[in-house]
């Protein structure tokens, strides 16, 4: 390419087309994200067409799951997904709030850094290890120590009756809570830390206690960010697969009691996909995947819009 002798100006490195090419390649890679997203949607819809045609909307409201007689419904899986997520959020959100409070307001900086890092490590532990630990260690612990206590003191509630086997909805929810705890608490810590010091000091100057400052200043100032943190945790919880698969018990029934076994969309997919030989069975599992995809998609879209709003208001990025 070095036809003229004007040196670097004419080298291929500085040619305009090279820059255009670079820009084009990066744009293509970026656009590939859109292709993947569209591909996921199209392939899930395409593969679940047989059951969509056969069952229509009744797929979403039917409890049936019988591969032998080819009757499929998503209700028990949707229920399990929502229930285990609800338990996880109920436990993880308040815990994360007080942990964030500890990290920002109470602990000396060095302790806060160490504890904060340790909590973040909880997020790095792979899902399957939570599953192993849950199945072999935590579920027996639940059966021996936690569930008897619950049924003794709270047994008049329908949620805490039934077999004390360890595995089941409650155990799955607790392990899920443990897995999303680090996400929510680190984001909440950052939100708490974003509150301007002068606002807190004004509160302390008025004679308020730490709790009162937190309640009336920090939380009021950071509530949108805290909701954002919860949304991020919720997104994690809803599609969590391996840990749940180990401990949820894989039953296709819907029970009020949290001690009973259940299944979630993700756990059913992980469990049964390898067995699904007939096209209808496969299609039913694909449609379950489609349901989960749409649930998380809507949730993520809401989350992104919410975080954008928070960013505008607080001037900082979460996560």
């Amino acid at each position: 390419m070095e036809h003229s002798a004007t040196g670097r100006q004419q080298s291929w490195k500085t040619s305009r087309s090279m820059d255009l090419l670079f820009r084009g390649v990066t744009a293509a890679c970026a656009a590939f994200v859109l292709v993947i997203m569209a591909g996921i949607f199209v392939s899930l819809v395409w593969n679940s067409l047989p059951t969509i045609r056969e069952f229509g909307f009744s797929f979403l409201f039917s409890k049936a799951w019988d591969p032998v007689s080819q009757k499929f419904g998503a209700l028990s899986s949707i229920y399990g997904t929502l229930m285990s997520t609800a338990i996880a959020m109920l436990l993880a959100v308040p815990l994360s709030m007080v942990i964030a409070l500890f990290l920002v307001e109470l602990a000396p900086p060095k302790v806060s850094a160490v504890v904060g890092n340790a909590i973040e490590l909880l997020a790095a532990v792979p899902s399957i290890i939570y599953g192993m630990w849950g199945l072999f260690v935590f579920a027996p612990f639940m059966a021996d120590h936690v569930q008897p206590l619950l049924s003794e003191y709270l047994g008049w509630l329908p949620f805490f009756q039934g077999p004390e086997m360890g595995i089941g909805m409650l155990t799955a929810g607790i392990i899920l809570a443990l897995m999303i705890l680090p996400f929510i608490s680190t984001v909440m810590r950052d939100v708490f830390a974003m509150v301007p010091d002068v606002m807190k000091e004004a509160g302390y100057g008025m004679g308020a206690t730490t709790f009162e400052v937190t309640k009336d200043v920090t939380i009021r100032y950071g509530i949108q960010g805290m909701i954002g943190a919860c949304l991020l945790g919720l997104g994690r919880a809803i599609g969590e697969t391996m840990a749940i698969t180990f401990v949820i018990g894989n039953s296709s029934d819907i029970f009020i009691s949290l001690f009973e076994a259940g299944n979630s969309i993700a756990s059913r997919l992980a469990n049964e996909f390898a067995e699904a030989a007939e096209p209808m069975y496969l299609s039913a599992l694909m449609e379950l995947g489609l349901v989960l995809f749409l649930m998380t998609l809507i949730l993520q879209i809401i989350t992104q819009f919410w975080l954008k709003r928070v960013k505008k208001k607080m001037g900082g990025d979460l996560l």
């Binding site: 670097r8 040619s15 820059d19 670079f22 820009r23 390649v25 990066t26 744009a27 890679c29 970026a30 656009a31 994200v33 859109l34 993947i36 997203m37 996921i40 392939s43 899930l44 593969n47 815990l95 007080v98 500890f102 109470l106 602990a107 504890v115 890092n117 340790a118 490590l121 909880l122 790095a124 532990v125 792979p126 899902s127 399957i128 290890i129 599953g131 192993m132 630990w133 072999f136 260690v137 680090p182 206690t209 730490t210 709790f211 009162e212 309640k215 809803i238 599609g239 697969t241 391996m242 180990f246 993700a266 992980a270 694909m286 989960l292 998380t296 949730l299 993520q300 989350t303 992104q304």
Partner: protein
């Protein structure tokens, strides 16, 4: 809700503080519990055979997971090879060219959404494009599934890291006659190096512990790898299958494999943290 008397207010404050300390301790306790159990049970399974032998049927002495270790490393490497360059380039577009363009806005939004899509869904997607049409589970499909998982993570961190590079540096690089692509790849990348390394390490850590997408793509195998066109043994699916089995010796090996994976993932995380720390000095 707030009690009127000073004593009551102080008591309430003290109680909330106590609860908050307990919650932090609870988090640490669970982390310690999990680490302890995995190390305690895993260490018993780890010996020379564990790394060098192939899996054995239950009841037979001396099985190992050599093939699964190799398979996991190969698929992680494949995912890194596919996912990291694509992610880096997509991140470059978002930070350098698409800051205010419409495509940039759409891609940025989609990257964030894609990061929140459960990995098992990505597994289903790759199953339907790479496993079903070819009629066999394969190592290729596993690597591709993991790379799709890495792609948005790398793209997002790259954009964040490149955006932190001051504009003055960009202008200076262009002013001395660098073309845009050289300015980006050799100057701006260098300025953002430690951040980029952190992003890549974290994404490798994230995929190397993944199980769900591999269930539908690479599956598992009890043989040594011959090619990437057939089911490929890997540690995480081995853990899943062995842990669910009723055999004690298989459970034992699952604990050993868990220890291995956990150590690798935590080391990668620590390495990522050190890369960041270096930058701050």
């Amino acid at each position: 809700m707030t009690p009127r008397s000073d004593k009551g207010r102080k008591l309430l404050d003290w109680m909330v503080k106590a609860i908050s300390v307990c919650a932090a301790l609870l988090g640490l306790f669970f982390l310690g519990w999990i680490l302890f159990v995995v190390i305690d049970r895993g260490i018993a399974a780890i010996n020379w055979q564990f790394f060098t032998k192939l899996p054995m049927p239950p009841g037979m002495e001396g099985g190992g997971v050599a093939n699964a270790i190799l398979g996991t490393m190969i698929m992680t490497a494949l995912a890194t090879l596919l996912g990291v360059p694509a992610g880096l380039l997509a991140g470059v577009y978002l930070a350098e060219f698409g800051k205010h363009s419409r495509l940039g806005a759409w891609v940025r939004f989609t990257v964030n959404v894609l990061m929140g899509i459960p990995s098992i869904i990505l597994g289903l997607f790759v199953y339907s494009i790479l496993v079903y049409p070819f009629g066999t589970f394969s190592g290729w499909a596993g690597g591709v599934a993991l790379s799709i998982l890495m792609f948005p993570v790398v793209a997002r961190t790259t954009e964040d890291m490149l955006s932190m590079v001051p504009n003055a540096l960009r202008e200076a690089a262009l002013a001395i006659g660098n073309p845009r692509w050289m300015a980006t790849l050799s100057i701006i990348f260098r300025a953002a190096k430690s951040g980029l390394i952190t992003g890549v390490l974290l994404s490798v850590a994230r995929v190397s512990g993944e199980t769900a997408p591999l269930l539908f793509t690479a599956l598992n195998s009890s043989y040594m790898m011959k090619s990437l066109n057939e089911p490929l043994a890997n540690l995480t699916v081995t853990i899943y299958q062995y842990a669910m089995s009723p055999y004690d010796d298989w459970n034992q090996i699952a604990w050993g494999a868990s220890l291995l994976i956990m150590t690798a993932v935590l080391l990668l995380n620590l390495a990522a943290r050190f890369a960041v720390r270096e930058k701050k000095i």
